[in-house]
């Protein structure tokens, strides 16, 4: 492999991961005056970030990496749904959601092999 070929993933990490994320932190150092956390702008920012994060979750479920792709789509979707239902009913516990969702995924994968 060429030198550039070896370095390429790290250059991409800097350009596509570090810089676009870190610029907001550095901007936070520069913004001297307090930004009201309850301001409308901050609420819009949080809404966009929330939708984006939900989108990432959905994309991993619909277009999973190797290893998860072997589990049928229906099993993945049912597992996330029952995990989320468990989270909602069991005092909004993230741990409960993860445990139930994981159990659903693995049992489903055993019963319905891809």
């Amino acid at each position: 492999m060429s030198m550039l070929g070896d370095l390429a993933p790290y250059l991409v990490l800097l350009a596509a991961g570090f810089l676009p994320n870190e610029m907001w932190r550095m901007l936070g150092v520069v913004v001297a005056h307090g930004l009201d956390e309850r301001s409308e702008l901050v609420l819009w920012v949080r809404s966009v970030a929330t939708a984006l994060l939900a989108g990432v979750v959905a994309k991993i479920l619909f277009f999973p990496p190797a290893g998860l792709a072997e589990v049928p789509l229906a099993v993945r979707l049912v597992a996330i749904a029952i995990g989320f239902a468990a989270f909602l009913t069991l005092r909004r516990s993230v741990l409960a959601g993860v445990v139930v969702g994981e159990a659903g995924l693995m049992l489903g994968a055993l019963w319905f092999p891809g």
Partner: protein, 240 residues
């Protein structure tokens, strides 16, 4: 109560100890087990995953980066999505720095605490810092952030090696950790109507845009889904 002043190193260690006993360390280990496993199965090296943890230091941004680049998307597309998700760090950094800085604090002393700011560190800082004397807060916050960073690295290494050595069923479970935990924790952090709607819109929009073959689908999911949710909130406020 009398407080014996701590040296900067002492304050750093106090923050580090606070991280060790915080429940967020366990949450971070769990989150980064998922990130490490994703990194492995999307074909990244362990060094790359650890460097991304050190440099990006935001679980959502790292998952976006790993899943978009790993699926073969162009770096620009990943950068735009990471940039949009990173916006939420700005108000967090501003409120954290307001809590730790003094009139004579130099800007460069704020760079490290700003870099270490992530959801876990921010929540714990806001809880713990008011009990720490102001002149010790920067070192304390740095210790807290470094403690969390160490926990995350441990989780990432563990997840990376487990994904490499687990049988297929357990690997699938490991890779499922990230979507399941991110969905539940995002829902938990969504207290306002706009945020809850944004969560629902994002879940629906992303697969639709992706199946429709629309470029920059994650960016549009965030901008359209988030703005629509925010608009509903504004309409409701206006009707009151």
């Amino acid at each position: 109560m009398d407080h014996v002043p701590l040296t900067p190193v002492g304050s750093f260690l106090a923050g580090f100890r606070a991280a060790a006993t915080s429940v967020f360390s366990l949450v971070l280990i769990g989150t980064y087990v998922g990130v490490g496993a994703l990194g492995h199965n999307y074909g990244f090296s362990l060094a790359w995953v650890l460097l991304s943890t050190l440099l990006v230091w935001a679980g959502p941004a790292q998952v976006i980066l790993i899943s978009t680049l790993g699926a073969g998307a162009p770096p620009l597309e990943a950068a735009v999505a990471v940039g949009l998700s990173g916006m939420r760090l700005l108000p967090m950094v501003v409120t954290l720095l307001a809590l730790i800085k003094r009139a004579d604090t130099r800007a460069r002393d704020l760079l490290l605490p700003a870099h270490l700011t992530a959801v876990s560190m921010w929540v714990e800082s806001l809880r713990l810092l008011p009990t720490v004397p102001r002149e010790e807060r920067i070192a304390f916050a740095n210790g807290l952030g470094c403690g969390f960073l160490l926990a995350a690295h441990g989780g990432a290494v563990l997840g990376y090696y487990l994904a490499a050595s687990f049988p297929p069923l357990l690997t699938a479970g490991l890779l499922f950790l990230t979507p399941m935990a991110f969905l539940a924790s995002t829902a938990r952090n969504s207290r306002l109507l706009a945020e809850r709607l944004a969560l629902a819109f994002g879940l629906l929009l992303a697969p639709l845009l992706a199946y429709a073959g629309i470029g920059l689908d994650l960016m549009w999911t965030g901008v359209l889904g988030g703005s629509a949710a925010y608009a509903v909130h504004r309409l409701r406020e206006a009707r009151r």
